[in-house]
């Protein structure tokens, strides 16, 4: 890859568009993807997420467009209306690969269109198309209408109506999920982006690249989590359902319990038996963890089945799959949707029934009835109902399906994540539960502060390459640094990549600090410190020891070079970054 890469800057207010060269020092210092997006936000990072001047950046990474495994991905970066933090999300499918084929490394979208539009990009140029007739349509119809324009990233009714956890859906069933970036595009009156092209990406040192690629594939084959007969290639992420049940850390009934007896109804094998679970993947990915039913619809991920399932005490697989379908078509995050419903269920004393789920999801997306309140996410909803304790979120982001009482690294990582309660920033589930690359003691805080810090740095680099987190259940940064060296012809090392990751992570934290986030925001819902999980079968799941948690958090700040209150000792940090 050369350091001459182009970005398309789109001003929706004026309709002006231009392709520019990305400053090479940005690519060197931030790689691409998440890192590049975060850098490009600088200077506007304190704007309100709904301010027309707030940019949304779509950025691929240096591996995209090459045969590097799991690398046909991109990051979308902006500021989240749900959390108020800087926000990025990585998504696969074919969109990223086609964006690169259109001759682009990134698209930065700013301003606000007076009318609904679609941004259509090809290797020959770009145009804004009127989209009045698409406004109001679901993802399926929108993608269908634009299917001759290559890959589609679109918002659904949820994004149009400003649901705070609305997604940008990639046509193939992948979501830019969680933080409500769909609503940010909705405010801009941008219904969809399409990309297509025929450019290819050069690999500087083919031999080095091929060797690294063979190493990666061998490690994938050696990993039980990836290619094992019970792994994610076979069953998709729902392979985790049985495991989380067995480890007694599947959030149940809004995190009041950690074992749900009905979980076998939606386990990996159960989904396969009921729907066939055909393998599918992001472009060129050998793992192909995505699963489709025989009728072609995208089947739910682990988080989705567990949260529509255990979290809402629903053991009805078909209702869960329908909930997933509805979210996908409405363009809404399944984790936050299900968790918000669950919190609301606890607040009113009854979890929604399987039949109520579908209508409630539509009400949320269209902001009507109960949906008006639910569309604000669990924290705002719970506060409005006078029961703030029922929102199981960190920085307003609903927690995913790994109970922190069952994995202490996860507990810490939820609060240190720069985008709120997310499992993917440090992804300690990898070692605490899946034993990859090695196992760590899940019921201990010992060493976790530094483990989380290093993993956050590593994953910031991974999100900037952009590779898939699942690749690291087998491979390591060692092989991915080699892939990058092969692509660029320059020498990269895991250590160097982690240092880039650290810069990205600290930049994000700095933005958040400027937006008023402090140590008090780095906290878990009280429930985890006061109530036990569901002990049994020789596994004790006590509440988390608050003092020990705080002690480890302080250590974490010190390791990060921050003050004990989590703030930056150095106000000039940002200015010194490239």
């Amino acid at each position: 890859m050369s350091l001459r890469q182009h970005i398309l800057v789109v001003d929706l207010s004026s309709g002006r568009m231009r392709r520019e060269e990305i400053p090479p020092e940005f690519l060197r210092a931030y790689l691409g993807g998440r890192g590049l997006g975060v850098r490009l936000l600088r200077g506007r990072h304190t704007l309100s997420p709904f301010d027309p001047a707030m940019p949304v950046v779509f950025a691929v990474g240096p591996l995209c467009g090459t045969p590097a495994p799991t690398s046909a991905r991109l990051s979308v970066v902006s500021r989240s209306p749900l959390t108020g933090t800087v926000y990025d999300c990585s998504a696969g499918g074919r969109f990223a690969w086609r964006l690169r084929a259109a001759g682009l490394f990134a698209i930065l979208i700013e301003g606000k269109s007076p009318r609904p539009v679609v941004l259509a990009v090809t290797s020959c140029g770009e145009e804004l198309l009127p989209a009045d007739d698409l406004w109001g349509k679901g993802i399926g119809d929108t993608v269908g209408a634009l299917s001759d324009r290559g890959s589609v990233a679109a918002i659904g009714p949820a994004g149009e109506n400003g649901v705070l956890f609305s997604c940008i859906m990639m046509g193939e069933g992948n979501a830019v999920g969680r933080g409500g970036l769909g609503a940010v595009l909705g405010r801009k009156n941008l219904k969809a982006v399409t990309v297509d092209g025929d450019r290819s990406v050069a690999v500087a040192d083919r031999e080095r690249f091929d060797r690294a690629r063979a190493d990666v594939l061998r490690l994938f084959r050696a990993s039980p989590v990836i290619f094992g007969e019970l792994g994610i290639s076979e069953y998709g992420t729902p392979a985790l359902v049985d495991l989380m049940r067995q480890r007694r850390m599947a959030p149940t009934e809004n995190f009041r319990r950690t074992v749900f007896d009905g979980s076998s109804a939606y386990s990996g094998p159960a989904i396969r038996a009921a729907y066939g679970a055909k393998k599918e993947g992001c472009f060129g990915c050998p793992i192909r963890c995505k699963k489709r039913a025989s009728d072609g619809r995208a089947l739910p991920e682990y988080e989705t089945v567990s949260h529509f399932g255990a979290l809402n005490a629903i053991a009805d697989l078909h209702a869960i799959v329908r909930g997933n379908d509805a979210c996908n078509d409405l363009g809404m995050d399944t984790i936050s949707a299900a968790a918000t419903l669950s919190a609301w269920g606890e607040a009113r004393g009854r979890f929604p029934s399987p039949e109520e789920i579908g209508p409630l999801l539509h009400d949320i997306a269209h902001r009507r009835g109960e949906g008006v309140l639910l569309a604000e996410g669990s924290r705002r909803m719970a506060k409005a109902l006078g029961k703030p304790g029922v929102s199981m979120s960190v920085k307003s982001l609903e927690l995913p399906a790994y109970d922190p009482r069952g994995a202490y690294g996860m507990a810490l990582a939820y609060v240190t994540s720069n985008r709120g309660g997310c499992h993917l920033r440090a992804y300690p589930i990898s070692h605490e539960i899946l034993r990859k690359p090695v196992a760590s003691d899940r019921f201990s805080f010992s060493g976790k502060a530094r483990m989380i810090k290093i993993a956050e740095d590593m994953n910031a680099a991974v999100d900037s390459l952009v590779a898939c987190k699942f690749a690291f259940f087998g491979a390591s940064l060692e092989e991915y640094a080699e892939l990058l060296s092969g692509v660029t012809g320059e020498h990269h090392t895991p250590q160097g990549l982690k240092e880039i990751g650290e810069r990205i992570y600290l930049t994000e934290r700095f933005y958040n600090a400027e937006n008023g986030f402090t140590r008090s925001d780095d906290d878990l819902p009280v429930r985890f410190f006061t109530e036990a999980g569901s002990s049994g079968e020789g596994i004790d799941v006590p509440p988390i020891d608050r003092a020990r948690f705080e002690e480890e958090l302080t250590k974490y700040y010190r390791i990060r070079g921050l003050r004990d209150d989590g703030s930056f000792a150095d106000d000039g940090f940002l200015e010194r970054q490239p």
């Binding site: 061998r218 050696a222 094992g228 359902v241 067995q246 899946l434 990859k436 090695v438 196992a439 160097g496």
Partner: protein, 392 residues
């Protein structure tokens, strides 16, 4: 953290991979903790302070093989490339840091290599290995390098003889004093077949420990399972054979549940072996002479390029078949099951040994001891033959 440091230092002593007292371990949290020989622990700490890692192990190996490999390597070689599966899959190669490079700023030189690899061989120092995720990983990476260097040296010595001053003497010391007879005598096994899960778990834990105590495998490498009815009890991935309490997954034969996603990467091989042979117990480890001998193929003009993965042949080492096949989904699960039934044991090219017990673990254990002993004998027979033909 302190207790972990001590634990891994003790493990390294116990498995005889370090020279007595010659280990330094550093682990970093918000502060740096060290233990062991002052010079080596200082080195470990200094190297660690330059890396985004949890821990570093720096030690002088109990055998000079790594050092010999370094000195035997071409002057322009930057790394050695052992051919065992461990290296091929996880280490890729092992950087060597020569005296000249260490003369200026040794910490910097070692850290530079470790920024890209899991372990290095530093001339006159020993093996230095890092743990990016946990301290245990630094211990594992040390063991991997030690293992890989051991196997490579056996092969190189057989191929090219002794070339450095002192090498022959050191090797004689290794052969006559370091190596101990391998035996299953004095161990007690429960006779199978089993039906009580508790009994199985405790037997698996005991046998796992035996394999390490008797020097058959290094603690981290290998896996073990037992079939009871329609359930396979199997050690988890990344579990140490001598610490299996809480690290054994029950996996239904029919894949009804996916809890076994954390089971050993060789689960599929174990399952197929049970199906093909009716065995009740399986042991798998990487005894070093068997690994070395498995790679001594004498086929001439063979068209196969990737022996580890693609060799279609079944070669016999005595009465033990040797087949190819990579880890996990890579192929050994296809090639081992059809050949293991006849003698109850099989060797995987460059990788290790599988052995089975028709009722319990005793048969499997004795088979593995037997394979390794025969491979040892055969190795030394060839080495002696080589020496003789040279002196003639």
């Amino acid at each position: 953290m302190r207790s972990l440091i001590r634990k891994y230092a003790e493990k390294l002593h116990r498995d005889r991979s370090i020279a007595q007292g010659r280990v330094g371990i550093a682990a970093k949290d918000d502060v740096m903790l060290t233990d062991g020989a002052p010079d080596l622990s200082r080195l470990a700490a200094d190297v660690l302070s330059r890396l985004s890692c949890l821990g570093v192990v720096a030690a002088s190996p109990s055998l000079p093989f790594a050092e010999f490999l370094l000195r035997r390597a071409n002057a322009d070689a930057k790394a050695i490339v052992p051919l065992d599966t461990e290296t091929r899959t996880f280490l890729h190669d092992i950087p060597i840091v020569r005296r000249e490079e260490l003369a200026g700023d040794p910490v910097r030189a070692i850290a530079a290599h470790l920024s890209n690899r899991k372990g290095v061989i530093a001339e006159g120092v020993g093996i230095v290995a890092s743990g990016p995720v946990t301290l245990e990983q630094a211990y594992i990476h040390y063991s991997s390098v030690f293992h890989a260097a051991f196997v490579k040296y056996l092969l190189d010595a057989l191929q090219a003889g002794f070339v450095l001053p002192g090498e022959a003497e050191a090797f004689r010391g290794f052969r006559e004093t370091f190596l101990r007879p391998l035996t299953a005598e004095g161990l007690s096994f429960r006779p199978g077949p089993f039906d009580d899960p508790e009994e199985v778990l405790s037997e698996i834990r005991a046998v796992g420990r035996y394999t390490v105590e008797r020097g058959l495998v290094d603690s981290f490498f290998g896996n073990i399972s037992c079939r009871v009815g329609e359930t396979i009890f199997i050690s988890q991935t990344a579990a140490s054979l001598d610490e299996l309490a809480g690290c054994i997954d029950p996996v239904p034969m029919d894949n009804r549940s996916t809890t076994g996603i954390t089971a050993s990467s060789e689960l599929l091989a174990h399952r197929r072996i049970y199906e093909a042979t009716g065995a009740r117990a399986i042991l798998h480890g990487h005894p070093k002479f068997a690994v070395a001998m498995s790679m001594l193929c004498e086929e001439k003009d063979c068209p196969v390029k990737d022996c580890w993965k693609d060799c279609p042949n079944v070669r016999m080492l005595g009465n033990t078949p040797v087949v190819a096949g990579e880890i996990g989904a890579g192929g050994l699960a296809v090639r081992v099951p059809p050949v293991i039934g006849a003698s109850g044991k099989a060797i995987v090219y460059g990788h290790g040994v599988f052995s089975i017990g028709r009722d319990g673990f005793e048969e499997a254990f004795r088979s593995m001891v037997d394979v390794e002993n025969r491979c040892r004998d055969e190795y030394f027979r060839r080495l002696d033959a080589r020496g003789q033909s040279k002196s003639e």
